[in-house]
Symmetry: C2
Subunit: 353 residues, 2 copies
């Protein structure tokens, strides 16, 4: 099949790491003629904004709609307010393309040093609600810059929204043989939205016999991530809680530089988007030393989503193999390899599989 | 001076650990006649609720108002919804008594095993906004139990509310010689309330030359807590973020059982309340094996608040001494001492100072 991929390298190290992900995918195309992938690059980033006054053209979403998937680098530049880069680019894509599932695997990998003494294997997947909740952007401010100023921010949670992300998490658990789903809540203190969250999660959980359901308050759960990360299999969380838990999860496996994510539209009526969870790291941009693993792994999630799980698996195995050998390591992993060398080693390992 | 203390032991292990905290305070009274402390116990807990249908009598707050401070155990019982125990007891006290500062020290102690490989000293204090924000309890639900059901929860942030907690954090930094204050935000995604947070924090920070101001997104900050906890000195955070960061902070120093907290009313027009951050742990309640350190330390924060910093210091030193010796340890610390034995050892150490 032919897959049309929109590539948005973005800012900072985004282009550095995205280049390597594209290289791995191109190589797969070479060895597997059934994987006919075509890339179209878009320069919609902070530079573009400084030139045009918007992060993407007015018909940007219209242009992207035609693609089978989007590979997204990273966004963030000191010259452009986060509010702009995020709310004019990432958020419109996530929200308009109904990418309500944000999938983020947290996996301990051989060759990546964990900050924890506990060396049990860690391998769970967080499904973060990606369309509503705390990032609804509903609210405003009153008495601007006066002493009595206030801001009201509305967390909007819908039963249908919670049910669909929970169902996705449970379907994933069932399909992959995982036996437990953990929900993150705070219904003891955030009693309107989080109680609806609990009820909707419980309703869906009840449909899945044989898969254990547990629910923790987010404060306790954050502590458990540190104390016993090996005990989690699948986690379902709201937009904000999932955001916090995945950065925390990445940190406990030592993997902020290697953790991928997929912004998934399960109905496939719009393209899904795949991106490393790390930021644009402007301090090391263009130096050729960024770790490309998170982005290559994100590309693997994309390949899986495109319906080629065996190719996705080959990419992830290649990453694990290169890390395990420990010969080619970027500076964040304690080595002195370049982005290109690490990308190249992974590409080579894919080829040899 | 004479200090009148209201003691609310609460549920589960609350009474077990509170008893030891009271014992330490009574002993100080014995050795220091200037510290004339009087305790009045209140049985307002889940048991009380099951009997009376409310967590405290109608004039409960009125009764508590007359005290100089409140020592609070823990609340939580499987037979009573969290919503009730929390919103009819803890929250009314915190909110009506204008305890807008929730102070939570995160300190690595000799004798407490940290889950991190990094063994740098960790010693910072989190000031959590305790009156508004995400726990404002403003909101509601629509289309109850129908497919289109939704909940709206309002985070309410006021400029004055952010300024006063930030000022408290900076004053603390200045008074204790700390050189940096870190603010937790998420203004890139929660753009109404968190932008006001950022602005109000920055306005106050600007008044304090010589103290560095930094600000991180909560997701990144959670990861930094794991990666480099030694780099923080004072953290100021919203109600929810402070809640998450303190449980996480406690976990990284191995100290969920030893971390204290103060719900402080800086104006002193109403009593402040001191409580361990751990919960009621019903599974070990009444067995005499709960670790009383968090509660004894909370009592020390109370003594400090009552204007006796030298006595507070003596209690904390006693805790550190007993932990350092490592002879008397409750099961959570790998020993087999009882709650009473550990409390007794600390009391003894206070006496010997
Ligand atoms: C009991 C609960 C509402 C409370 C909170 O979140 O404030 C607790 O977690 C705490 O941290 O004191
Ligand atoms: C860029 C930012 C708004 C974003 C988020 O919070 O969703 C990022 O932290 C992420 O996790 O993808």
């Amino acid at each position: 099949a032919t897959y049309k991929i929109a590539v948005l390298p973005g800012d900072g190290i985004g282009p550095d790491v995205t280049k390597e992900a594209v290289r791995v995918l191109e190589l797969i195309r070479e060895v597997d003629p059934g994987f006919d992938v075509h890339f179209t690059e878009f320069n919609w980033n902070s530079e573009y904004y400084l030139e045009h006054g918007t992060m993407m053209p007015e018909d940007g979403l219209e242009q992207l709609k035609a693609f089978d998937a989007i590979l997204f680098g990273a966004i963030g530049d000191a010259r452009v307010a986060d509010e702009i880069s995020i709310w004019q680019l990432i958020m419109p894509i996530r929200k308009n393309f109904r990418q309500y599932v944000n999938m983020r695997p947290i996996k301990r990998l051989v060759g990546i040093e964990s900050p924890l003494k506990n060396d049990a294997p860690v391998d769970f997947v967080v499904f973060r609600e990606n369309a509503e909740g705390e990032y609804s952007n509903v609210g405003g401010r009153l008495y601007t810059e006066q002493p009595q100023e206030m801001a009201i921010q509305n967390t909007v949670i819908t039963r249908a929204g919670v049910e669909r992300i929970t169902r996705y998490a449970y379907e994933y658990a069932r399909a992959t043989g995982r036996k437990k789903v953990t929900s993150a809540t705070k219904s003891n203190a955030i009693i309107h939205s989080m109680k609806l969250w609990d009820e909707a999660v419980a309703a869906v959980a009840g449909e899945y016999g044989g898969i254990e359901h547990e629910s923790y308050f987010i404060d306790a759960l954050a502590a458990y991530f540190v104390e016993r990360p090996e005990s989690f299999e699948v986690v379902v969380a709201s937009n904000l809680f999932g955001d916090i838990l995945t950065d925390l999860g990445a940190a406990i496996v030592g993997g902020l530089g290697v953790t991928p994510s997929g912004n998934i539209n399960p109905e496939r009526d719009f393209p899904s988007m795949f991106e490393a969870i790390h930021g644009s790291a402007p301090d090391i941009a263009g130096k050729g030393i960024a770790n490309p693993i998170a982005q290559i792994w994100s590309a693997a999630l994309m390949v899986d989503h495109l319906g080629r799980p065996e190719l996705a698996k080959a990419i992830v195995s290649a990453i694990e193999q290169v890390l395990g050998e420990g010969k080619v390591r970027t500076p964040d992993l304690g080595g002195d390899a370049t982005t290109e060398q690490l990308g190249g080693a992974i590409a080579q390992a894919v080829k040899e599989q």
